[in-house]
């Protein structure tokens, strides 16, 4: 079952922060985050494997709340290069570990 991402779209100015949420109706084993720029292939951001684990690089980080079956992606002091569509993929516990991706969140960062 497809995870639900919110919001569907975010418009920011450079330097502002954003949070993208990802919720699943199933118990989760892992959460994957990818970013896809227009006309390009999705690019891996991070995988979270344990409940409560937070990971990040540069000014992009994520958390995984296993109990709530949710993950959030945090973009701090956004840059123009952050623009794109962000997808979360959730792999259920006890399943095939194939991530099911949400419909994506479109992020636009203006100067």
């Amino acid at each position: 079952q497809q995870p639900v991402q919110s919001p569907q779209a975010v418009i920011l100015r450079e330097g502002e922060d954003a949070v993208i949420n990802c919720s699943s109706s199933k118990a989760l084993y892992s959460v994957h985050w990818y970013r896809q720029k227009h006309g390009e292939a999705p690019v891996f951001l991070m995988i979270l494997l344990k409940g409560g684990e937070q990971k990040g690089h540069d000014k992009i980080s994520a958390s995984f709340n296993e109990k709530k079956q949710q993950s959030s992606l945090y973009l701090t002091a956004s840059q123009l290069s952050y623009s794109g569509t962000y997808f979360c993929g959730t792999a259920p516990s006890g399943g095939s570990y194939i991530p099911t991706f949400g419909r994506g969140t479109s992020l636009i960062v203006h100067p």
């Binding site: 497809q2 084993y29 892992s30 994957h32 990818y34 390009e40 292939a41 999705p42 690019v43 891996f44 995988i47 494997l49 997808f87 993929g89 792999a91 095939s96 570990y97 194939i98 991530p99 099911t100 991706f101 949400g102 419909r103 994506g104």
Partner: protein
């Protein structure tokens, strides 16, 4: 290091026709995954191949099929094309079989238009 490559980049077909899409994974990667990205629907998982065998398939009809060759490259075949098959088809590869531990590296995709 060369990334995942896909061919062709674009295809235009008519309803009822058949199409074959090709994917070459990153050298050393044994797993290949196929996704359909239709407008507004995100990435829909189609098929997973590893070591030449189909390991899992998504919720798609049997007219979507594929195979993986000994060199780990892969083909996706779609028979009896329908209008709603119009989408970007993405191939991804990963170095291992346990997907949850590995990131996926995506190719540029093949844009299929069915008229």
């Amino acid at each position: 290091e060369a990334g995942v490559t896909q061919s062709p980049t674009h295809l235009i077909k008519t309803r009822g026709q058949q199409v074959t899409l090709r994917c070459s994974p990153i050298s050393g990667h044994t797993s290949v995954y196929w996704y359909q990205q239709a407008l507004g629907l995100g990435l829909q998982f189609l098929l997973w191949y590893d070591e030449g065998e189909e390991r899992n398939r998504g919720n798609f009809p049997p007219r979507f099929s594929g195979r993986q060759f000994p060199n780990y490259s892969s083909e996706l075949n779609v028979n009896a094309l329908e209008l709603e098959d119009s989408a970007l088809y993405l191939c991804a590869s990963s170095p291992g079989t346990v997907l949850s531990y590995n990131e996926q590296f995506f190719g540029p995709g093949t844009r299929l238009t069915v008229l």
